[in-house]
Amino acid sequence: MLKQTSAITAINIKSIPERWASSLVIVVGLAGVVAVFTALLAMRAGFESTLKASGRTDEAMVMRGGSDDEINSGLDRDSIDIIEQSPGIRLGADGKRLASAEMLVITELVRKHDIKDGVNITMRGVEPDAFALRPQLKIVEGRNFTPGLRELIVGRGVTRQFEGAAPGNVVRMRGSDWTVVGVFETGDAYESELWADLQVARTTFDRKGASSVLVALDGPGGFDTLKASLAADPRLSVDVIRQQDYFSGQTKQFRQTIGVLASVVTGIMALGAIFAALNSMYAAVATRSKEIATLRAIGFGGAPVLVSVMIEALFLALVGGLLGASIAYVLFNDLSVSTLGQSFTQVVFSFKITPALVARGLIISLIIGMLGGFLPALRATRLPVVDALRAA
């Protein structure tokens, strides 16, 4: 049985080049499905990993109660002072509590190759502790801004996607001119932002407080201590959220949208591919009906024939799937794009094709191959031997 199966399978697979046109249909069809599937999900994976990397579990954000998003939040100076002195916050190297009040201002830059419309970019005014709170931040070009001056450092994502933010450029925002002095990399969502000194941003934009306060938590119990002490203070109405939870909340909508799009598009494409695969495998069985009948006549059983046809379909499906995944990898992996994030500003991220995604794509293509191979395989075993041998 096993010997029979492998013998027939070997014949089948060796004869594929003879029937390359119809085999190609399966391979290309599945390559298309897998490429689209992998690319769409790679976009989602990239967006998620960008935002997930932004969040640490040992840091927390404090925002005005009920604001859900930094951009909606606003805290006045008194509240900020109280928050920054609260228990539960770890002490920094200078012996003071490690906390940075940060102010978000939406500004506008123009996407590369697009002259007309600007898109919203986040500008973040930060306190000195902001850098200690984000050890992943590295200045890769130029230098950091000088406190007290209207200087900006810009994220690597911003310089990649948008015009006019390279070091040396002057960015005009709300009637004020800012000089770009450096570029930073963080590998997460902050890379889509412009950073400046909080005090300068405050005076320039005539704001009093800040949007949020980022704090380092003091050990595992720090979060609860901080939350309890802020909740107990009647002068405050604030929400405390772990930084990672904040960012994963931000990806929810995008995750859902891409998830729906990917399942609808790949679902329809997969159906089409199943029909195409059925067609090709029927044709493959039909052109070999004489050969199959001969095998049956000399004593090969029905099961080995069935299995061999299935294996051929699966083999072609696997080749197609691998081809599709490689196409997606070559075209899209690390492709940098940007979209509108939850706070109405641009988030720059890259497509990430992970091994897990490739595996899922291959599984889909094998399932399609199985579905497309089964009926034709069944037909092959049921061929009436005598008629098939007689047919021209």
Binding site: A21, S22, L24, V25, V28, G29, A31, G32, A35, V36, A39, R64, G65, G66, S67, D68, D69, I71, N72, G74, I106, T107, E108, R111, D114, K116, D117, G118, V119, N120, M173, R174, G175, S237, V264, V265, I268, M269, L271, G272, A273, F275, A276, L278, N279, S280, Y282, A283, V337, S338, T339, L340, F344, Q346
Partner: protein, 385 residues
């Protein structure tokens, strides 16, 4: 036997093959229809009411508010007929449903947005009741709101005096659109700006957008430039653009959706070309002797070419039309299911692009086999060489 009969007979010579091929074409055009509708919506081709209005916002971003006191200055610009303003409220219904809520000045809003219709009396109540709210028909139906109810609505931006973000308004009217296009956009909720301005603890005398209705013969571009020049170098610099550009700019921020869709469609159609092309080639290959007989009987080379082409056209047309039909039905279903929030109109535009694609497809897959059939030499073909 008529020619049409002959063609359908040869198409259904191998039933399974034809049906499977048609089904793959159906799937391809189903996807085509849906994705085209999606890009069409995103490119702003659909959904715009003709009225030319200008939108004035802060130069850098509409999230930065402008003072309401700019209104008389805007209204005095020649060519501007009426000006109204709207402020984003950040409305949230129950725990997590965002509601497009704007604080507006009722009477000028009514004048500028003539596409929203509601009995005049309700407009008056809206203007005179401080805590009034009016809602679009679609959103009201979706959330089950009735006129006369007190609607609790939270804001994720603005606290009231005292710090609470839970607001409540009296629903005094439900507006509808005056034509089919605007009926599909009644998703917004309006509240009274005077009350909002007084009761909130955050922004005073500020608004996000001004909408300018122009005089009939006005030049929108020139007026936009004049306004932006007027406020240049002031603390509140402006950006004025037509409503259509404003909406497009917003959509563009989502990123290049068109590009993504083009990639997907490219993958789909490349595959399809191969599937259908292979079927056609195979069916011609199998019928070489028959085609030779036809020629022997006196059918010209041209008519044999015609037969084969007609088969491929029939295949693609059948599959393509069913696919586009399915897309239309599904698009409508999506619109119903989401209560009109997400529209996927597979309309005349999508159909005409679809039919052009069908025509191109049929030629692309049919031409090679058809030429082969045309060039057959009777002697060789009959001898099956």
């Amino acid at each position: 036997m008529t020619r049409a009969g002959f063609i359908s007979a040869s198409l259904f010579r191998k039933k399974t093959r034809t049906i499977l091929t048609v089904l793959s074409v159906v799937m391809a055009f189903l996807l085509f229809g849906l994705l085209q509708a999606l890009t069409h919506v995103f490119s702003g081709g659909a959904n715009f009411v003709g009225a030319t209005r200008l939108v004035t916002q802060a130069r850098v971003s509409f999230t930065q508010p402008l003072p309401v006191s700019m209104l008389p200055k805007l209204e005095s610009v020649p060519g501007v007929a009426r000006v109204t303003h709207a402020q984003w409220f950040g409305g949230v219904w129950q725990t997590n449903t965002p509601v497009f809520t704007f604080a507006v000045d009722p009477s000028s809003y009514h004048d500028v947005y003539s596409e929203w219709v509601m009995p005049e009396e309700q407009w008056r109540t809206f203007a005179t009741t401080r805590t009034a709210m009016v809602a679009g028909k679609m959103i009201a139906d979706q959330l089950g709101w009735k006129v006369g109810q007190k609607i609790p609505l939270a804001s994720n931006i603005y606290p009231q005096k005292g710090g609470s973000k839970a607001w409540a308004f009296d629903l005094v009217g439900i507006y509808d659109g005056k034509d089919d296009a605007s009926k599909k956009q009644t998703m917004q909720v309006f509240i009274n700006h005077d009350y909002f301005d007084e009761a909130n603890d955050f922004a005073k005398g500020r608004t996000n957008f001004f909408t300018l209705k122009l005089a009939p013969d006005a030049n929108p571009e020139a007026i936009g430039k004049a306004i932006d020049a007027m406020f240049e170098n002031s603390p509140d610099e402006t950006k004025t653009q037509t409503e259509k550009d404003f909406n497009l700019g917003f959509v563009k921020q989502l990123g290049d959706i068109g590009l993504m869709v083009r990639w997907i469609l490219f993958a789909v159609f490349f595959t399809l070309l191969l599937v259908v092309g292979n079927t056609m080639a195979q069916s011609v290959r199998e019928r070489v002797p028959e085609l030779a007989v036809l020629k022997t009987l006196g059918f010209t080379d041209g008519s044999v070419l015609g037969f084969v082409l007609a088969e491929s056209v029939a295949l693609c047309l059948l599959g393509g039309l069913i696919g586009l039909g399915l897309a239309t039905v599904l698009g409508g279903a999506v619109e119903k299911m989401t209560g009109g929030q997400f529209q996927l109109p597979v309309d005349g535009f999508v159909w005409s692009v679809g039919i052009a694609t069908i025509a191109a497809m049929s030629l692309a897959v049919g031409l090679l086999p058809a030429l082969r059939a045309q060039r057959l030499r009777i002697v060789d073909a009959l001898a099956a060489r």
